[in-house]
Symmetry: C2
Subunit: 112 residues, 2 copies
């Protein structure tokens, strides 16, 4: 595909994806939720270094992009649960590629 390097239409769709997934947290949150529905604290534990403020902001954005679902259960007190949507799961191949490239890059740069 890179042979179509520089093609404006392709540049636009790559930019669309990057702007939606922008930042280092969204894909890590989705990766955590790909294991199954979770509560706020569980996601926070899965994603090292994320603050509650940032997690809450990123969850809202992911919900806006229809990548996750937020559900409130009528317990006392009410419980809130987050789950990945089918559209969110469509990122599986991209997460795969990031995982493999992350390993490759670490080997290339640090040599282990």
């Amino acid at each position: 595909m890179l042979s179509k390097g520089g093609c404006p239409k392709t540049m636009l769709s790559i930019r669309d994806a990057l702007e939606t997934l922008e930042g280092k947290w969204k894909l890590l949150i989705l990766f955590s939720l790909s294991e199954g529905p979770k509560r706020f604290k569980q996601i926070s534990r899965d994603v090292p270094g994320i603050t509650d403020k940032t997690l809450s902001k990123e969850l809202k954005r992911l919900e806006t992009h229809q990548l996750i679902l937020r559900e409130v259960f009528n317990t006392f007190p009410p419980t809130v649960q987050y789950s990945i949507t089918a559209h969110g799961m469509s990122l599986e191949k991209l997460l795969d590629e990031l995982h493999y490239w992350g390993l490759l890059h670490r080997k290339e740069i640090i040599g282990k």
Copy 2:
């Protein structure tokens, strides 16, 4: 692969990749250079919205990560050329996935 959701080692390699490729410009610059070696102004034209200051900063970072090569030719005045490295080209599949997902997301969200 998402079935291994939440696995810490996979989370780490995804985070490595995201931190290296962080921001919305690096992958667009690499996509532009995948067409062939280019000069500063040519890359700037390919990547809509990027300022010269940002492009210069991102090119330095990409060079540090061994994803591009900067060459100075002994012309008068000297000419500077940027090209993607083999390691940079290893991002081809990731760029493919971003491209396809960008199209899918646009259709899902905007319906066209």
